[in-house]
């Protein structure tokens, strides 16, 4: 890809990723949540990979690390959904409509977003390499 695209993407990609993270964290207050947020972050990574080539990413992202991240995220999800004792008791601690109004849903949104992000990034990188 030529230099214009690279420069533009250097400018916008951080904002796309930041926007995705914000959507993940505000999933219990505003439209959106884990999947839109995670997909947005993953698309931020994807345009970087398209602009700079997938080979560049190979040394920086290891497959094992992605799997470990996903494993941790799903453990959080499974823990909260099945045993629901610790996180849920902090829900509603700081009143309604605030960022901390639902710790449980927020934590799950972030964990789910990490899952989506890991899986999509891995798929996009693999398909780009093909």
């Amino acid at each position: 890809m030529d230099v214009i695209i690279r420069t533009v993407i250097k400018g916008i990609a951080p904002f796309i990723i930041l926007m995705g993270v914000a959507i993940m964290f505000h999933g219990h207050l505003t439209p959106g949540g884990s999947f839109p947020g995670g997909a947005m972050v993953a698309s931020g990574f994807a345009i970087i990979a398209v602009a700079f080539g997938a080979d560049e990413a190979e040394g920086k992202i290891s497959e094992k690390a992605v799997h470990m991240l996903e494993g941790l995220a799903i453990l959080v999800v499974a823990y909260v959904i099945l045993f629901e004792t610790f996180v849920r008791s902090y829900s509603g601690l700081f009143g309604l409509f605030g960022l901390w109004s639902s710790v449980e849903v927020m934590a799950l949104n972030v964990a789910g977003g990490i899952m989506v992000l890991g899986a999509l990034t891995l798929v996009v990188l693999l398909l780009l390499k093909e």
Binding site: K64, H67, A78, L82
Partner: protein, 473 residues
């Protein structure tokens, strides 16, 4: 307690790519098998409420005696297949086991759930793991089979989703027991039912939709063929029965299912006779046996449903046995065509005996388990119409023809290929265990018939299920 089974499987799936050891998924599947065995032994209806919400509002898993039997079979087969695969799969083993764990988790979820949409989600986990595993060999044949599967599978899934959407629109709930209380005999309900059953029939290859199966099942690695044609097809049957009897509460003879069952049986048997590829022949035989199951539960009587469940159990055991035995031959020789194989009986006597037991059992000859379930099917059909019994006996004769042909051309006659290595014990062990189970259930059928009859009673007693889930009223 059941939640630990699914947690173990998911943890196995997520940890395998990190540690890259075969013992992680093996331990996970073994653990889930032990959990299911203990649930089966207890023999009570277990209700698992996820996130602590009571039934119509949250998701529940409902385990009655039919569910528990299926769960035990699913995890047991997965365990044997996993043990077998440690030697059969030579490369990319950790990826294979990741997908196998996910497949087992999907099967277990589909089997145990009491919520329609949850069933769909787990069906998707199962299907996606299956797409990956069918294409696992990545040669020309496997990719073509996987393509067929991956175009038709999502189509079937979307029909199932359409049925679920209609059920939600009609009843305003997704819990199976809650839906069952709100069913009315109406054309729109029947449409929803048709979409659901149509999607499931496409997935489990009932006759108008059977064309894709023989291209898909044989191209997968042999252990996966065993899983697909035994437990995956069996789970399709299970969920059809669950929808039919528990949600829609049908009773009496359902001629549509009987007709489809008869057609499936005859066509599957006829095409199997002319096959030369061993795995393809067993795949067609699976279609034929699924027809038996459809016929039996289409009768709607207590005996018919019990016979269907028993034949389902036998089919799961025997089909795994046959595919795993054939897998050993393919592992040694690399050939699937009957015409190129021959005289292997002297070199692989144990495999020959086990394959013979499986073949005799699926044909339905006396001291084996297939005989008991086929006898139950014959006597159940005799009560409704002797014509059906005659057809069932004739199809059994067809089964005899093609299995004899396969057995003779693979194991008897002039030796055409050399076996150099010894068969690894871990590959032989599952085959021997399955053959022993076949003989055991044939000699002491009482052990199985009790479990099967209580499963049939649990399936047919709709009001008990609803009371157990929704609690009194």
């Amino acid at each position: 307690m059941i939640e630990y089974a699914i947690i173990a499987l998911l943890a196995g799936a997520f940890l395998t790519p990190v540690f890259k050891r075969s013992c992680v998924p093996l331990a996970a599947i073994l653990f889930s098998f032990l959990v299911m065995a203990s649930v089966f032994m207890q023999g009570q209806t277990v209700i698992m409420k996820f996130s602590g919400w009571s039934p119509p509002f949250g998701i529940v898993w409902v385990v009655d005696s039919f569910n528990a039997l299926m769960g035990l079979l699913v995890t047991g087969m997965a365990m044997l297949v996993a043990i077998y695969s440690t030697k059969y799969i030579r490369e990319r083993r950790s990826r294979f086991f990741t997908l196998l764990c996910l497949m087992t988790a999907g099967l277990l979820g589909v089997t145990l759930t009491g919520d329609v949409f949850n069933m769909y989600v787990f069906f998707e986990i199962l299907s996606i793991a299956c797409y990956g595993l069918v294409a696992f060999n990545t040669d020309k044949e496997a990719i073509e089979g996987a393509l067929k599967y991956i175009v038709l599978g999502p189509l079937a899934s979307s029909f199932i989703l359409l049925g679920i959407a209609m059920l939600y629109g009609l009843t305003g709930t997704l819990n199976m027991a809650d839906i069952a209380t709100k069913i009315q005999p109406d054309i729109t309900f029947n449409m929803a039912f048709g979409f659901l059953i149509g999607g499931l029939a496409l997935k489990s290859a009932i006759v108008p939709f059977h064309f894709w199966l023989p291209d898909v099942y044989p191209v997968a690695p042999s252990p996966i063929s065993a899983m697909l044609s035994s437990v995956v097809a069996g789970t399709g049957m299970y969920i059809v029965m669950r929808i039919l009897f528990t949600i829609f509460g049908f009773s009496g003879v359902m001629w549509m299912f009987v007709a489809f069952g008869v057609l499936t049986m005859i066509l599957g048997g006829l095409i199997a006779i002319v096959q030369t590829n061993v795995k393809r022949m067993i795949a067609y035989s699976t279609i034929s046996q699924n027809g038996y199951i459809f016929l039996a539960f289409g009768l709607g009587t207590n005996l018919g449903v019990a016979a269907a469940i028993f034949h389902l159990v036998n089919n799961i055991i025997v089909k795994s046995l046959l595919f795993l035995a054939v897998g050993i031959i393919i592992w040694h020789t690399g050939k699937k065509d009957m015409r190129e194989l021959g005289g292997l009986g002297k070199q692989l006597p144990l495999v020959m005996v086990c394959f013979g037991i499986g073949a005799l059992s699926i044909i339905g000859l006396p001291p084996l388990n297939g005989f008991v379930s086929k006898w139950m099917i014959y006597s159940a059909t005799w009560e409704i119409s002797p014509v059906l019994t005659a057809i069932a006996v004739i199809v059994s004769a067809m089964t005899l023809i093609y299995y004899i042909k396969a057995f003779a051309s693979v194991f008897l006659g002039r030796s055409k290929c050399e076996i150099r290595e010894r068969t690894p014990l871990v590959m032989l062990l599952p085959v021997i265990i399955l053959a022993a189970v076949c003989v055991f259930l044939g000699v002491f059928p009482q052990a199985a018939i009790g479990a099967v009859e209580s499963a049939a009673a649990a399936l047919l007693n709709q009001s008990q299920y609803i009371t157990a889930v929704l609690g009194g009223g």
